[in-house]
Amino acid sequence: MAKKGIETLVGLFVLLGMIALVFLAMRAANLGNFDGGDSYTLQARFTNIGGLKARAPVRSAGVLVGRVTSIGLDPVTYEGVVTMSIRSGFAFPKDTSAKILTAGLLGDQYIGLEPGPDEAMLADGGRIVQTQSAVVLENLIGQFLANSAAGAGGGGQ
């Protein structure tokens, strides 16, 4: 009888531990955000992906529609190849354009999808052709400096 009691208590202990684990994973972390496995993949190529990371959000009109699954480099064209999984509820037209945007001034980078007017939809494994790379602050400053130097040189003549 005492043995049975101890076994019940240990069972309870293990159960509590499991509940804590499930709570941590589902409620306090992002495991609950995956809604099933219902998603399809899209690919996009960027000349510069900036600070984009795997698991970065993919948004359309600001709404989360998927996540970046992997990032690679095309060995021939030297473009960044971004693979993302999109929830199957959202289909995008073939002429959708993808931009790498920044949340806020210094926030994390994410991919913004802007659908075009095309009637045909992108299928699983489809590729988004129109892309706009991340804005790299250093390049922007470099351009600005070059322009202002050119401007100053022109003014002197």
């Binding site: 202990f13 531990g17 509940i19 709570f23 994973a25 306090a28 972390a29």
Partner: protein, 259 residues
């Protein structure tokens, strides 16, 4: 010349200690499968190690969650980022405080009792008696305790973190007035279930192995006198705490440096 000999003797003694402990650890691992055959012994040990540590772990978890939430709030509110309270509490609990504080409490609560129990068994020559009866005390006494500790420790750490987050929720949402929806959604966006939660549990399991192995070793190798047992119990707490803190640094460096 004497000094040189002394230095050599000390080095040899330290190395001998390490080797002895390593061999003991290997013996423990070898005895593990055998303990599965008498699973009720393991169940009893999980009860002694896990269930009886529950109260102190849960109480500490709630207290740490309360205090973390209160202190973080003062810093965050100056930047208008009080919504991130849940995220910060969650990450610090799940990644570091949960496993480490649980391990320290575990060494104090369960490790000491393991050392004292086995030390007294040795002092009362119960272990020697077992050997005479051709029962391997490693398999019969040490292995079930080892397994019990390894099973109990991650579960305790998970409970510590979960309860701490709930404690932080009570303070943040109930007391301070952070929006409940934001509290959870910022947390869910920032915490990855495998990278943060999973690695925290792996950490806790490693600490469980360290704490239990140290406690068993100290008990098994104790001098068979009252002073010897007292000394071994103290050493259990000191050695396992230091080992956990050192190992924590190594594991953190391995797990969390790459973004």
């Amino acid at each position: 010349m004497n000094l040189l000999a002394e230095l050599g003797a000390r080095t040899l003694r330290v190395l001998h200690g390490f080797g002895h402990a390593a061999l003991f650890f290997l013996d423990l691992l070898r005895a593990l499968p055998g303990s599965l055959r008498r699973f009720y012994l393991v169940v009893h040990q999980i009860h002694a190690i896990g269930n009886r540590s529950l109260l102190i772990i849960v109480a500490s978890g709630v207290a740490v969650g309360f205090v973390l939430a209160l202190q973080m709030y003062y810093a965050l509110v100056t930047y208008g980022a009080a919504e991130s309270l849940g995220l910060i509490v969650n990450l610090s609990l799940v990644r570091e405080l949960g496993p480490v504080v649980t391990a320290l409490l575990f060494a104090g609560r369960a490790g000491t009792s393991l050392t004292a129990e086995i030390g007294l068994m040795k002092a009362g020559e119960q272990l020697a008696a077992m050997e005479l009866m051709a029962v391997d005390p490693r398999q019969r006494v040490l292995a079930p305790r080892f397994l019990g500790g390894i099973v109990a420790m991650p579960l305790l750490a998970a409970m510590f973190s979960a309860v701490g987050i709930l404690g932080a929720w009570v303070v943040a949402v109930g007391l301070i007035g952070v929006d409940a929806g934001n509290f959870w959604s910022v947390m869910q966006n920032g915490v990855d279930w495998w990278r943060d939660v999973g690695n925290g549990i792996v950490k806790a399991a490693v600490f469980g192995v360290i704490c239990t192995a140290v406690a068993l070793y100290q008990g098994y190798e104790t001098e068979a006198t009252p002073e010897g047992v007292a000394y071994a119990t103290t050493r259990t707490v000191v050695v396992s705490s230091l080992a956990v803190l050192g190992m924590d640094f190594v594991l953190t460096a391995l797990m969390f440096t790459t973004p």
